[in-house]
């Protein structure tokens, strides 16, 4: 059996794992292992070709980024699939990189609006870590009126004429939009170039968009971490004192067992994999899963339904100019609407008209007809609006074993069961109603027509399942991410969520991960000062 020993073992090499590893390495932790079931993503030099093939042939620019031979698992509602990413860097190798913060209200929903649950930490507690996450990722943005201790690291990506048109149109409707923040360089930053508007952000061919594999490659190259690829953790084992003694893993290539032994474990496998692994690690002392004396492990999972609408507006939008970036407002995150106190974000982007094979009457078009129809439609701008609605899921929503999907090494994959019982369903419906009312009011006031309305459905930006709290009887982790039941186990990022918010959540995952890393560093320093014999030679 292969044994890998380290002082800190970070399980999962996604964005949370990358940031935790970076923070630990900078603090001088001498021996850090980062383990991931995935393989290295294509080196950056390969990405321009991947982007070109994607455009020309619809080829997936991240081939193999899933469990071999397995379709991505779905959920009970048939909604958005959860991606078992199999690349070092995780899902944020191919994210949109939109990085808004949660608002102060997100942390106090129950106190303010009587639904959901208050977090054990405030926005102010997390704010320094938001700031640090923005600096580490390299975020471009413009002030949005929200509280922040430092300006964005970079000014926003230059605004296209099309986005200016959208901003003006929304302004006529009484909605002030600002540039959505993105982890994309608006100027050279952190050794990476400025964005040059390839409009293939899903696979950024230049490196202007942040990807966690950049951080991990640099750390591994500098020998600050040992990056162990293609090793999947199957189970955590505890000792008699309930400390995590080791992680039992498997070499994905060979099927041989691997034992990961460490003083501290950071579970950064994200949602839903972290709570699922803990549940799979049940022992006689913890029959419902490790870290689960509260019985809340794998429950209170969160996400937010999405509403999307395409509108035509009277102003001309050329399209194809730069349709990757969005404008947004946080107004309705901070000022709920309607009797249900519905909260949602609102983002807008300019969209191109597409050439159609059929005309309005349903007849087939060829050549000049396609062109003429396309030109007529293009005289009116096309705008896509999107809102994410705040819905709080209770303990009936949970993570379970998927009886029909298995990893190649035999373990069941996780399955998420989101249950829209009375409360979340009421909020989902009310949210859809209010958002639709807003979109229609905007078109009435500023001109335009709703062409296509979709949702509210699905729930992207998922998290929870290891929620944090002060009370060990109602939460899995403490407010810093340490498992109540296991003093050397920390959970980083998405699984810690208490509520799901109503905006893209990755920056919040990152801030939580950095807060967890800070606590771990502080504890390791304290232990060393109390036990000088632990100081490295």
């Amino acid at each position: 059996m292969r044994r890998i020993e380290s002082e800190v073992c970070v399980l999962g090499a996604g964005v949370a794992g990358a940031l935790v590893a970076a923070r630990l390495a900078e603090a001088g932790v001498g021996s850090i292992t980062v383990v991931d079931a995935g393989r290295a993503a294509d080196p950056p030099a390969r990405r321009p070709d991947r982007a070109a093939r994607w455009l020309d042939y619809m080829e997936r620019p991240w081939p193999g980024d899933r469990v071999v031979g397995r379709p991505p698992p779905g959920d009970a509602a048939g909604g958005a699939v959860q991606k078992p990413t199999m690349y070092v860097g995780g899902q944020a190798t191919h994210w949109t990189a939109q990085t808004p913060r949660f608002t102060p209200e997100d942390f106090r929903l129950h106190s303010l609006y009587g639904y959901g649950r208050d977090w054990p930490i405030s926005y102010e507690d997390l704010e320094p870590h938001y700031d640090e996450a923005e600096r580490r990722l390299g975020v471009s943005g413009e002030p949005d009126g929200g509280p922040r201790s430092a300006p964005f690291p970079m000014p926003p990506i230059p605004e296209s004429m099309d986005l200016r048109t959208v901003r003006d149109w929304a302004g006529r409707a009484g909605i002030a939009l600002h540039a959505a923040p993105y982890a994309k360089n608006s100027r050279p930053y952190d050794g990476r170039p400025a964005c040059v508007r390839c409009d293939t952000c899903y696979v950024c061919p230049t490196g202007a968009k942040y990807s966690p594999d950049f951080t991990l490659r640099a750390l591994a190259h500098a020998r600050k971490i040992e990056l162990v690829e293609r090793v999947a953790v199957r189970r955590l084992e505890i000792d008699s004192g309930h400390r995590i003694a080791r992680a039992d893993a498997v070499d994905v290539k060979t099927g041989m067992p691997v034992s990961l032994e460490s003083s501290y474990f950071v579970l950064a496998t994200g949602f839903p994999f972290a709570p699922h692994l803990l549940a799979r690690s049940a022992t006689p002392d913890f029959p419902r899963g490790l870290a689960n004396s509260s019985g809340t492990l794998g429950r209170f999972i969160q996400g937010h339904p999405v509403v999307i609408a395409n509108l035509t507006i009277p102003d001309q939008i050329f399209g194809w100019v730069h349709e990757q970036n969005r404008l947004m407002t946080r107004r309705y995150m901070r000022e709920p609407v309607g009797a249900e106190n519905v909260r949602f974000d609102l983002s807008a982007m300019a969209a191109p008209h597409l050439p159609h094979l059929r005309n309005h009457e349903g007849g087939v078009q060829l050549g000049d007809e396609v062109l003429a129809d396309w030109r007529v439609r293009s005289t009116r701008g096309l705008v896509q609006l999107r809102s994410l609605i705040d819905v709080y899921f209770g303990d009936q929503s949970r993570i379970v074993d998927d009886p029909s999907s298995f990893y190649p090494w035999g373990d069941p994959m996780p399955k998420t069961e989101y249950v829209y019982d009375a409360a979340p369903e009421r909020r989902r419906r009310a949210g859809g109603r209010e958002v639709r009312k807003l979109f229609e009011a905007m078109t009435k006031k500023a001109g335009g027509e709703v062409q296509f309305f979709h949702g509210p459905s699905a729930h992207p930006h998922r998290g929870g399942g290891c929620r944090m709290g002060d009370d060990a009887t109602t939460s899995v982790c403490d407010p810093f991410g340490r498992a109540h039941d296991h003093e050397n186990l920390f959970v980083a990022g998405a699984p810690l969520l208490v509520t799901g918010g109503c905006t893209n959540a990755t920056l919040t995952f990152c801030a939580l991960a950095l807060r967890t890393a800070d606590r771990l560093v502080a504890e390791m320093k304290r232990n060393r000062s109390e036990s000088p014999e632990l100081e490295p030679a």
Binding site: R60, H94, Y202, P355, L366, D368
Partner: protein, 228 residues
């Protein structure tokens, strides 16, 4: 800087590769002419060119049309069967769509199908009018192609291509149709052209190339007008 230099060269390299592929085509595949290539039994000219006359804008000159056909032939040549295709679980919004949940690989090259479809055009032309497709007048060839396209599009399901409803010639171009019920050379050629920088530019009468890294200079102004 090296990175950026590579990006800057990307478009040029792609064009060179496509031209090279076009030039090499007849020698690389001697047994079967590619769609768009001259054939011994096709003395009146390329059937692809005849098809292009029907499905591409008439404003294109003969040379422009033949260049589109040559680039399309290079695209067919570059098709890679078996390669993993984009699946829309990759983005949260698109994963909502029912067609997105399957893992997909590129099917067999459309090359043979396109050839057979060109043969079918010829057969139809001979059956109806007693001459090859390439010898038909514009009214007759338009009618035949229109019927074929209508038949292919009618088999498309609402979510085969995009969520807006009307089947769109996506920016993804002909690849969006390969393996769908509308996998037809006439549609593919249209998708290829209207998804190209030239096609998009012609629709807007502006220079808007969505397939290159374009920088931000002048982005605050409307794109410049297209000449010609």
């Amino acid at each position: 800087m090296d990175f950026l230099a590579k990006i800057g060269r990307r478009g040029i390299l792609q064009t060179c590769a496509q031209l090279l592929a076009t030039l090499l085509w007849p020698w690389r595949q001697p047994a079967r002419a590619a769609p768009g290539a001259e054939r011994a039994d096709d003395p009146a000219g390329s059937r692809m060119d005849a098809l292009a006359r029907v499905v591409l804008p008439t404003a294109l000159s003969g040379d422009e049309r033949r260049r589109v056909v040559a680039r399309f032939a290079a695209w067919v040549e570059g098709f890679a069967p078996g390669v993993e295709l984009m699946a829309t679980e990759d983005t949260a919004f698109l994963s909502e769509l029912p067609f997105s949940r399957q893992m997909r690989s590129a099917p067999t090259s459309p090359r043979t199908r396109y050839d057979e479809q060109l043969d079918a055009l010829d057969e139809e032309a001979r059956e109806r009018h007693g001459v090859a497709f390439t010898a038909l007048g514009s009214t007759e060839s338009d009618a035949i192609v229109r019927e074929l396209v209508e038949s292919a599009v009618a088999r498309l399901k609402p979510h085969d291509l995009n969520p807006i409803g009307a089947p769109a010639l996506w920016l993804a171009g002909p690849a969006a149709f390969v393996g769908t019920p509308a996998d037809h050379v006439a549609i593919a050629l249209m998708a290829f052209y209207f998804g190209s920088a030239e096609g998009v530019g012609r629709s807007l009468e502006r220079v808007v190339d969505p397939r290159t890294c374009r920088g931000f200079d002048g982005i605050e102004r409307p794109p410049r007008r297209r000449s010609g």
